[in-house]
Amino acid sequence: MSGRGPAVGANVPDDGLTTRHSGQPFGVGASAAVGADVSADVSDDGLTDAAAVSFENVSKWFRSKARLTHALSQVSFSVEPEEFVSLIGPSGCGKSTMLRLAGGLLEADRGRVAVHSRPPDEARRQKRYGFVPQHPALLPWRTVRDNVSLLCEVNRRSSVAGMAEHDKLAMLDAIGLTPFLDALPQELSGGLQQRASIARAFALGAPLLLMDEPFSALDEITRADMRYLLLDLWRRNAKTVLFVTHSIPEAVALSDRVVVLSGRPGRVTTVVEVALSRPRHAGVEDSDEFHRILAEVRDALRHGWSH
């Protein structure tokens, strides 16, 4: 597995961390504070107790009548609070499966998955993460506005209140959905549908986001724009993000760390640190450092392919 220590709370460039932590009383205040406290205090196995998401030797098989699929093999890594981590790997290597495990939507066959040291299913019951599925999954009979508030409406017993209305409108405006609030999903382009799906996850106001290739339906240019929009939203809302993507530039531009996976069964080949300063803007993609890291991730991916 990774020769690099997976716990990087302390390795995030200084300005990045401080800007995000300072002066902002976020809903995740408690966990953020805990994260800041213990991120230096790394336990022996390289996992901090306060990790927002942690995988320890997780293996997963899918059984059906016809075949047995080994999807994940001995996967270990962790995501610190307010960290942005990308999963990248060849198609079918189990990235979506990892998100589902982190969200308590699937059970691991071996190993342990935890969200803030608790079983992921608990996070699911308490609505403590926003899920952006690989397909936008908008309800066709609801307007964009109503789709965005769907996750807040269901399971009201949990204590999550959702974003305040005022903040939600500002978020929708930033994401470019304001002119389409009363439209039905079928009236939107694929890219706008994905924005609605992202907005829906943000509107929940949960401290963790699990995003499965949210930009896959976008053209290259919009996609590049969306990166920095997402980073902006992330910075203002103090989220931990676990982000699945196929695009190397996307992973590097967005992340604090990139977890590179091998082909099926997925295992972690390398964890690449992205030591680019934050906040990042489109210009970062022209820097030498960016390209160096890009090449590093690419080589790791190639390497993983042959395994």
């Binding site: 995740v28 039905l184 203002r236």
Partner: protein, 312 residues
């Protein structure tokens, strides 16, 4: 979760100043893409939609023309072959008879409509309840499937005498017959509908631990509506048939009874008049249902609309 996601629009004070211009630029370009781009360009008038008033008028008139055509051919055919009215009366003759006895047809028609409507509603409710339980319990589904198949393949009409034994001269034998005729298509479609839930949306709702009932109301019921409306259109006709069959066996009123009496006394005009009025009632109900469907299923692919609507 006090203050979750608060102070959204306030950038952190320390960093806001140096990066503001750059950040806001990048953000504007990314965020307002679709909306603002247009403002930058010269405003362009959309092309006039082709009006084609003749085509519109023709489309509106076509159903009536079809119906009139059928009646006209019928009328001429009877005239030319010189058929006896007992074999086949001319439609003009039948329509005149209906127009001359509006009270008779209205009264009997109203009886039949009530029976058919009640049967239709009961079939709908029973089917949705049963399909709901079936969709949630594999055990119940396996147990009830043979019963439903049995009901599907038994000629329901033979049950009417039994209902008569039970309920005598009340509307209930007819309502029950109407219900039994209509309910099998309803159950079958409701079950398919309740099952045809989009897996991605289902998973999304599971990600916030939505309960069974929430998934039922927010996902399953809306997904089953297109199937239920499709079944409804078929069942309007079936419920009417059921009510009329019930009236054939034993009744003092209703259009089925009117037709039966007319047949035994060779009142050809009344016999055909009943048929005409029944057909009219059926069409009226289907049109009503389609109007409701058009409103309720605005989002569904079956309603041509939006930019992906398939134009004929």
């Amino acid at each position: 979760m006090a203050g979750s996601g608060s102070a959204f629009e306030e950038a952190p004070p320390e960093t806001a100043a140096p990066e503001a211009p750059e950040a806001s630029q990048g953000l504007a370009a990314a965020a307002e893409g679709d909306a603002e781009e247009i403002a930058g360009r010269r405003f362009e008038e959309p092309p006039e939609l082709p009006r084609r008033p003749l085509r519109r008028a023709l489309l509106l008139a076509a159903p009536f023309a079809g119906l009139t055509g059928l009646l006209a051919v019928w009328e001429v055919y009877v005239e030319v072959r010189d058929l006896r009215p007992l074999t086949l009366p001319q439609p003009s003759q039948v329509l005149r008879h209906v127009a001359e006895n509006p009270g008779f047809y209205a009264q009997n028609g109203w009886v039949t409509v009530q029976e058919a409507f009640l049967g239709f509603v009961l079939a709908f409710v029973a089917a949705v309840v049963v399909a709901t339980v079936m969709a949630h319990s594999e055990l119940f589904e396996r147990a009830s499937t043979p019963v439903i198949v049995l009901m599907q393949s038994t000629p329901v009409a033979v049950l009417v005498p039994i209902f008569l034994l039970w309920f005598g001269f009340s509307p209930w034998p007819k309502i029950l017959t109407a219900m039994l005729f209509a309910w099998v298509p309803f159950v079958a479609n409701a079950l398919i509908g309740l099952r045809s839930v989009d897996v991605d949306t289902h998973e999304l709702l599971r990600s916030v631990n939505a309960g069974r009932w929430e998934i039922y109301w927010r996902l399953r019921i809306p997904h089953s509506l297109p199937y239920l409306f499709a079944a409804g259109r078929i069942c309007v006709g079936l419920a009417l048939v059921g009510a009329v069959v019930g009236e054939f066996f034993n009744s003092r009123d209703g259009l089925g009874n009117a037709a039966r009496v007319a047949q035994s006394r060779l009142l050809v005009e009344q016999l055909w008049g009943s048929v005409f009025v029944l057909a009219f009632i059926g069409v009226a109900f289907v049109l009503l249902l389609m109007a409701v469907e058009k409103r309720v299923l605005r989002w569904h692919a079956s309603q041509a609309g939006g930019h992906r609507g398939i134009q004929a």
